[in-house]
Every structure is written in C-alpha cells, then in structure tokens.
Amino acid sequence: MGLSAVAPLWGPPGLLLAIALHPALSVPLRRDYCVLGAGPAGLQMAYFLQHAGRDYEVFERAPRPGSFFTRYPRHRKLISINKRYTGKANAEFNLRHDWNSLLSHDPRLLFRHYSRAYFPDARDMVRYLGDFADTLGLRIQYNTTIAHVTLDKDRRAWNGHYFILTDQKGQVHQCSVLLVATGLSVPNQVDFPGSENVEGYESVSIDPEDFIGQNVLILGRGNSAFETAENILGVTNFIHMLSRSRVRLSWATHYVGDLRAINNGLLDTYQLKSLDGLLESDLRDLAILKDSKGKFHVTLKFFLEEASTNQSADAITLPQDDNDNFAMRVPYDRVIRCLGWNFDFSIFNKSLRLNSGNAFGKKYPLIRASYESKGSRGLFILGTASHSVDYRKSAGGFIHGFRYTVRAVHRLLEHRHHSVAWPATELPITQLTSSIVRRVNEASGLYQMFGVLADVILLKENAMAFEYLEEFPIQMLAQLETLTGRKARHGLFVINMEYGRNFSGPDKDVFFDDRSVGHTEDAWQSNFLHPVIYYYRYLPTEQEVRFRPAHWPLPRPTAIHHIVEDFLTDWTAPIGHILPLRRFLENCLDTDLRSFYAESCFLFALTRQKLPPFCQQGYLRMQGLMSTESLWQHRVESRLLRDDAPTGRDLEDSSQQPGDQELLGAPLAPGPLAQSLDSNKEEL
C-alpha cells in the first residue's frame, strides 16, 4: 500500500454529509476475511481466498493495486530478478528464478510476460499487479483508506471478537479475520540535531542534473542508499555514505535484502580511490549544521549540547577544529536520508495489542511463526511486514518469498475455519524416495523460503504409506496436528533447504577454496543451498522446537540426511543423490525400499514368507514391473538364459538361471560386494 497516498479528494462537503446520514451506514458491512492493502501480498491472499470461494474484501486506499510501486523504487529499477530462461520447462522450477510473479493457476499471469528486463522496471510491476487483480476478478475496494481498526468482542465470532474497520468515509466493516498486507510504508527517520536539513529518499530529486558538481552525503547503507548513489555517481564531486553498521553484501550473506551487486557501483569507486567513500558511525551521535552559505557540516551532537542554543551554526565546534584530518570535514551540498521504512502501527487501536518487535525487528509488528499476531487471534500479517519471522535469513520480506508464506497462512485458515485439512497427497511407501526427489528438484517455495517453509512427510502405521504436506512453517512443527488436521503418530520426515552452517555472513569469504562438496559422504558439509531431511520418531514438542540447538532450524532429529550440494541444483543423480537418500530412508524405516522387477517378486513370493514393499504394493496388486524384451534378449545373448523353454531332459544344455534378479534403483554399493562383482574373471 502506497505511502505516496495523495490526500484523498473528499468531494463537496454536502455530498459527504448526505452519505453520512444515509441509514445504511450505521449497519456494518460484514466479511469473513478483510485484507488491508492491494499490494502483492494482499492480492496474493485475495487470490487464494477467491479460489477457495471465501467471503472476502480487499481495501486499498489508492485507485489501483501496487501503489507502492508507482513511486518506489525511486529510480524505477527493481532488483528482484526476472529470469526468463532457465533451460527447463518445469514451471514450478522456473518460479525459483522468477522473483516477481504471484502464484495463480493462470500461466499468462507470469511476470516474464510483462518485462524482458532481468532487473525490470517498476512500472511493469504496477501494470502486472493491475492485470493480476483484473484478470482474476479479485474483490478490491479501491480508494478506501482504512483509518481505524478496533476490536469488538463477540463470543459468536470465529476468534471471540470481530475486527471493526472504519474507512475514511465513516463506513464500518466487520471482519472475522483481518489480514494486514500494508507493507512498510512509513519512512524511517532518525532524530538528531539538524535532521530537518536532510532530504528523504522518498522525495529527493532523481534528476542527476540537480547534483552536478555537488558534495553529497548519504545516510544509510541499504539498497535504496546505493541506488541513490548509483544514479548520481557520475556527476557529483564525491559521495560519502554514512551508516551505523558495515556494509552487508547479499552475495556473502545469501540474504536478498542486503546490498545487491547491481547497486554496488560505489563500492567500486571507493575502493578504486575515486573520491567516493564509506564511513561507519551511529547517526544518533551526529548533528548536521547548515552554514550561512547553505552548506552542511557534520559535527557531533556532543558539541552542539555544549554550545548555547542561540549560537549561529558557524560558531559551533566542528570535529576538525581538534582533528584537522577529520574525514567529513568538507561541507556537503546535500544530505540524503535512505534509512528504509517502518510498519504503520497508527491505525490499529491499542486493544489489538499489535506491538512492534524487539530492537532487532522494531520496524515490524510482532507475530508468531504462523504469521498470526501475538496480540490478537485472527489478525495475520502478510507480505513485507511479516518479515520479522525470517528477517535477514530468508526471503519472506519479498514477493518471491511471501507468495508462499501467504499460501501457508491461507492453508492454516482453511483448516481453522472451514475444516479443510492441509492439502496432502497420500502415497505408498514405495514412492517415498521419488516424492522427495521430485520436490527438492522443483519446489520453489522450499527453495525461496529455505529454513522457514519445509515439506513434511507424515508416516502411516507400519510405514507402508505416507502423507506428503508441502511448505509448512517449520517453526510451528510442534503444533502441526492442530494447525493442519493431519496426524503425525508414526514418525515424520521434514525436508528443508539449507546453506552450510558457516557459509553465510557479512564477513565471510564465500569464494574460499574447497567450498564445493562433491562427495556424498561429505554431504553434511555442503555449503550451497541443498536439501536436508530430518527424521523424527515423534513430533517434536514446543519446548524442543524453542530450545533447539543453536543454529539449527529444527530440534535435533533421530537421524539426518544431507543431499550433497549440486552445482546445477539438479539432485537427480542416481548414485550421487538418489541412492544415499534411499539408504537413509530405508535405515530410518528399517525396511528395504529397492525396486524389483516382477520376476524377482515372483521368486520372492515363492521362496519367502514376506515380500519387500515394492513387490507388495506393485506386483502382488498385479501391477508389477515386467522386464522388457530387450532385457530378455540381453540375458539370452549373455547366455544367462536359454530363449526356449528348458526341456529338462538335455542336462548338458539347460543352463538357465534360478532367478535373474533385476533391481532397479539399486546400484551396487561400494565395498566387498562391488569388488566381488568387478573381479569377474571369465577367461575360462
């Protein structure tokens, strides 16, 4: 929802009065679901609600969706990639590299149809969001500013209370569930003496002409600061950048919110001695003084406090008076603030107890891992404002991440209010390896929301079947049964994607030698994003989840498996990826998950009391895998088998085998067995 919000035109006062007096107005409009904001997250939720046939309404103060993008980013270049070519046809896989599309069933509503640019223009995003809302016919009330939200206790309500929304026209809306997708809309301002002299990112000129021959100081070290610098780098005398913490490069932290390489031109010019520079200091210790010529001087708040209040700017002590080599001793022509945004708490009544998080996540409302507010049941935060869950870790603050967390919230709601259990596919145990291989190779939600959303496999009794649940918020694992309506009585697997433990961080050398792991036995040391499978005999408790070992996304499992990182993120290698996975699953379940040809199953059926699961679930149900003509041919050629039926009389000639075993997906294990096969000395 745009912070650009142009003051709404209220129209002639007479009309307003007429509307206000209309008797219908005293009756609140009721909705099961109210969504605040028609930005990407709001639209995404609207899509799922609409698809499920729910009673919902989206409120948007601007006349079109995505108003944030009508103004931001100021320099119009989105840094979320629009990768149109991956060499793959798999639509789900391709979403891993499409950071702008929302989820829908309509393949026309993919962002690649809206822009050819790898870093697309923000106007294309506005156009895309508009089309998304229109094409899908989402119910959105535009030009509706929700000015106030309060609670109305009612025992009949789904959550024991209704959310009462009042818009700018005084219309009241009563909502059972409130989904807040208003993003971060309030520019972050740091209070220090002279902060009134600072121009904000939201309003500073973006015309480089206005900066010719100027000394510029930029406060902040995020992408907006660097984007601003990038735009004027070529015309300024120099740009200095000031912020409290050192720069974090996203390619070192693996966090997309940190400084992206596309914006880091100033790092280049700083390190290549081209007069630009970066400085670290807490802004709250500074003061900015305007001198008589209108130039800005950086000094310390401390000096300002020493001086009497009515002294002129020129008389105040500057750091260079003592230290004549003080870095920021030159006066600046402009100081620009690029310090990010905060969530707008102002419209929420205190009764909602919607508080901001700790110092770390102050700009975000405090929520649970299920995206529900800690203060009021039934209030969910979606989209960018929900990033406190995975701030600086995963992609939950960005379209390519929150499109999946929104879906997760919708699935929770479907179960909570409509008794629709979390979608799951029930499959026979023989499909276990395949279902994991399939997901880790294509699933986009797992890939983007690594460490936040994970797939869960719930085993059935005797481990003969399982249910596969996609993209469950794993911090809520202990509450899985109540949140999903599925039972986890017989053990479970969790499939998560992870970077190596010590691989990501602002000062990490991510290009060190030996960073890539290629051997399956070293898979647990994989550095790049790779699938990790946790096995639990019992569903972990809340305590276990909360007090899990440091740096572990989940409590300590019974067993763990890492699928070795892959340069191509293609985890389908039979020996390198699938076999070790199958062995892990077999050992967790204490069974044999190999695949057998029907001939082998036949033999087992007649020689053993029990059959392996593959034969039980395939062959014995008359769906066995028959070997092929060419395989037969091969056996005959290699004289393992005679091609005609054995006569039994001619002893010399019957050289048939007792059982030509063919196991699929069961390559030879390293070790003595393989050796004995290799040492096949057949010169006789």
């Binding site: 046809a89 051997h519 028959m626 070997s627 003509e629 019957s654 997906g665």
Partner: protein, 683 residues
Amino acid sequence: MSSGFNVFRVGISFVIMCSFYMPTVDSLLELSPQKYFSTLQPGKASLAYFCQADSPRTSVFLEELNEAVRPLQDYGISVAKVNCVKEEISRYCGKEKDLMKAYLFKGNVLLREFPTDTLFDVNAIVAHVLFALLFNEVKYITNVEDLQNIENALKGKANIIFSYVRAIGIPEHRAVMEAAFVYGTTYQFVLTTEIALLENIGSEDVEYAHLYFFHCKLVLDLTQQCRRTLMEQPLTTLNIHLFIKTMKAPLLVCAFGGYSVPKKGYKFQLRTKAWLLAFWELSGKRFAIFIFKKSIDRKRKLPLELTVELTEETFNATVMASDSIVLFYAGWQAVSMAFLQSYIDVAVQLKGTSTMLLTRINCADWSDVCTKQNVTEFPIVKMYKKGENPVSYAGMLGTKDLLKFIQLNRISYPVNITSIQEAEEYLSGELYKDLISYSSVSVLGLFSPTMTTAKEDFSEAGNYLKGYVITGIYSEEDVLLLSNKYAASLPGLLLARHTEGKIESIPLANTHAEDIVQIVTDALLEMFPEITVENLPSYFRLQKPLLILFSDSSINPQYKKAILTLVKQKYLDSLTPSPINSPFTSGITPNAIPPASPLPIIGPTILPAQEWKPPLPAYDFLSMMDAATSQHSTRKIPQCMKETDVQENDKEQHEDKSAVRKEPIETLRIKHWNRSNWFKEVN
C-alpha cells in the same frame, strides 16, 4: 585384473607353445639323460622317469605314466622316460632296477623325487605332480589350529577352499589339485587327510571326501567365523569347478542398470542337475541368486520417436483430438525408465495397426500437467478416449499386458449385442476373433429388457473390466431363447471359455457391480493353473495355500489328471494346486527335495520368514556432525592450558589462536575435485 589367473595363463601359453614348437606328444618321450637335460626350459616343469636301459619296455607304472602324459601336458608339464645308458652316468640313474624313481624338475632345478610306488596310477601321478608344483597354493594341514590360523589370516581378504581327502594320490585328491591349478591364486586351498579335522567342522559323513567353501572375504569382524558352504556332490574336477563358479556369484541379490559388464557375461555351463543341486543347497542356507549386471547403456537411445512426446502446450489438444494412451513418467526415476522400454516395445508392436495414439509426458518437465491429471506417482498409464473419462491402467507394467489392454479397448464395454445370431458369434469367439487371444474368456450378460437396475450394475462392472476381459450385454425381447439354450437364469451371465470351447452360466440376483467384477475375475482363474510370473498374484489374492507341483518339463498328463481328480472330488478345496514350470522356477525348488529326487515332486516347504531390512547402512551424518562439534570444543582445552606462558609468548599465542580458528575448515575433509584425486576415487 588380479594375478588370479596367472598360473592359468602360463598354462595357456604353454599349450600354445607346444602346438607350435613341438609336435603334440601323446606318448611318452624316450630320451637319454643328456638329451633330456638339454630339453629342460627355465620355469617349465618336467617329470622324468629314469630307468635302466635294460629294464622291461612295459610295466604297470609305465602304462600309467603314459596315460598321465596328456593331462600333465595340459598343465604345461612335460613327461619323459629317461633311459640311463652306461656312457652317460647321471646321478638320477639309480643303481638297482627296483630303486628307480621319477623326478620332477622345474627348469633344471629338482623339485621332488617320487618313488614309483607313490605314483601308483594316473590319478596319483597328476595329483602328486600338481601337489608338488602348487606347494604354496595348497596348504596341507594336519590339525585344527592350522586351519584356524589360516582362516583368521584370510578374513576380509580371501575365501578358502578346504578339502578333506582320505589319502594323497586318490582321484579326489587329483580333482582338488586340478582345481587348485586353476583357482589357486584366487582362493586359498587347504587340504587335509585328517578325519579329526573334518569332524571338527561338523561333517557327519566322514567316509568320503569333502570340500567346503569358506566365505572369509566378506568377514570383517575377526571374531566372526567364516561361513561355510559344503559341496554336496562327489569331488570331481568338473563338480569342483562348477561349485567354485557358483560360489563366485555374489551373496546378495543385486543388479543395476547402467553398469557395464564384459560382453561375455557369466558363462555358466551348468547341467540342470548340477544347477538344481547348487540352488537347492543354497536356498536352504543362503539365498543365492545369480545375478548379472544389466548392461543397459544409459546412453543407449530408445526409438522414442514411435511415441509422441507431449508438453504442456500439446497435452490437451492431443488427448482431445484422438484416443490416446499417455505414459506419465519422470526422467530421473529408474522404474519409469525401465517401463519406458516396455512402452516403446508396445509402440513397436502396434506400429501402423492401431488407432490409439501412444504418447508420453515427462513429469520432471511438465510437473503441472501431471498434477492436473491427478498423477502424483510414477509411472502411470492413462487412456483418454473421446467422450469418456480418462482410465488409469492398473495392470502389469509390461509389454504384454499393456498391449492386451490397448487391444481390448478397441471395443466398447460392455458390447451391446443385438441379435441371437450375433450373440452366438460372440460366444463362439467369432465376433472378436482377433481379440480372443487377449481375452480367453468372453462374458455375456443376459437380461430381459425391463431389468434396468441389473443392466446398470452389469454395465458398470463391464466398464470396470474394460481392457481386461471382453464383456457383452444382451437384453432383447428374445433373450429367453439364449437363457434356455444355455440353462441360464435371468438375469445371468454366460462365460465362454474359448480355449476349452465351454460355456458356463452364472445366475445374477441383485448382484452389485463390484460383486459381478469379483465373479468374473474369479471365473478367469483356472482349476490347475500353470503358475507364471504374470498370474501368480491373482492366485495369491485368493489367500488360499498354493499346492505347487514342480516340474522340469511339460506336465505329464498323468499328474495333471491325478490332481484334477483331487480337485473335482473337492479334496483340495482349501488349496490352489498349480504346476510350475518356467525359466525362472528351476531356482525355487524347495530345499526339502533331495537332489536325486526325480521331478516332478510335491513336497512341503517352510519358507524363510526373514524381514526386508535395509540392504546397506546409510551415512550417519548426525554422528559426523557431533564428532565435528566435539572435536571443535576439545580443541579449546590445550589453548587454556597455555595461559601460563602467555606473557612471553604473546605473539605466538596469537598465531595459535588463529590456527585453532582455522581448524574446522581443515578438518572438513572436503575432497578436491582435481583430476588425480578424482581418478583415485573412482578406481
């Protein structure tokens, strides 16, 4: 290739050498000592019998020696009779006639001398000579401790072939020595003539020679005993050879596509009997299955062009435009790819004859299409016909059954029969002549026109059975003509068994669709069926004990008659009797059958009840992670202890710290991907 066959190679090369440089010698060479010693070649073994020139030209010994020439020559050992003449005095020439001896030389080194009475016959000659030559390969032992020591020394390294013979020089000894000549470097041969040793092993019948295979190579735990397999056949060269071949096969059932195999593969030249014996023995004690590594080359191209590859764009249009079979598969899944071959075989067989379009879609690429078609596992075959709901194929994933399904789907289910004449043609198999080879039974539902519910139930059942059994419906006014003719009630079923030319009738009364399906599927079962890979599950489903008649050839009509009599007299109601005779089944002869029993036999067998456990352990990453963490923390201890000399070595201490910090990365054991390492790993 290990040195396992070096001896053998020498043998080969020698034989070749012989045939080129020497005339093949079948009879004994007679030479003078000087001449004899000049023929000795380095490394070559030679047996010479030195005798006085005036000794008789024939004796029992010479006859036997003469006979040994050929077998010894096969092992590269030349044989000569050396006539000691007075002019050439050799120390090998004894002084008295009866003290003459045979000598074994290697090159010109004397290995052994044999008094002629030890070489009492051809077997003794061959046995003794090889025994002397294979001194290292065959360990002769006399007590249990020796055996134990050898066994312990070879655990995890090599397998042992242990044999007991009653005496040296007897035919069994020769057989063992001949085997040792071939396998001596691959296996450790151990020989004894002490009965006590054999008794110690636990053999019951110690009167005969015994040969055991000790599986020591796979034993990694030294406290564990090597498993032993007794060869239960008489010790002959051929039997030992076959037995060792059998033992060479891996213990576990395991084969996998993609591994290349020498073109020759295994060359078992087993006689059926030997084979049954081997298996019989094994099935009791271990489940040995001969495997061969399937050498389906991963890069081998299938003639995929015979099936249409669908995409997201073409899927709907294709299945709407024509009747299609769609194979949903995943390119990375082994089962899918194995079935794809059968599928292509179906396409090859149907080429140009079918209106059904054979298509496939790779769900690894077109995930969404598969999900939309409700495909969540692979491989899945579905049939799309115009105006009908897609049908999932539920039969065996093989060429034959899928072909049957496709062919039988050329007609509708059930077929609407409209005249008595047509019904008769239908029942005789005339109507669908080309289809009855796929469905040996045709079912005809008889209903009077008013029986709408019964007809609906039958239609539903027919629809369910489509692709598996031909079903038809007759419900004209004159239906009584048919029901009277075949003594069928209305509503009722007629079952035409085309192979037997019989028509049965089954009454239907308020029978629901699923019960009709059950009746028909039960009717497809035979009384005394020959069990095959394809039909076993349908008999298993009856959950009755199977009485299996094992036969090594086609069933003798006598047996068949006897069984059928039992069946008809309801003696076997709780059993399903069936003969078994297929290329696979010779291996499942139950271990209760004595090897000499003539087939066929019926015998009780208790099947092993072992569970299907993980074939191999998995990587224990959790322990590895724990080990790395604990290693990390123990590292800190020496650092603390150094604090005493912090003052002096401040700088050093600093460096130590940084070294410690680096440690985790060094302990990571991440392998380099350089060329030299790579090849080491692979080899």
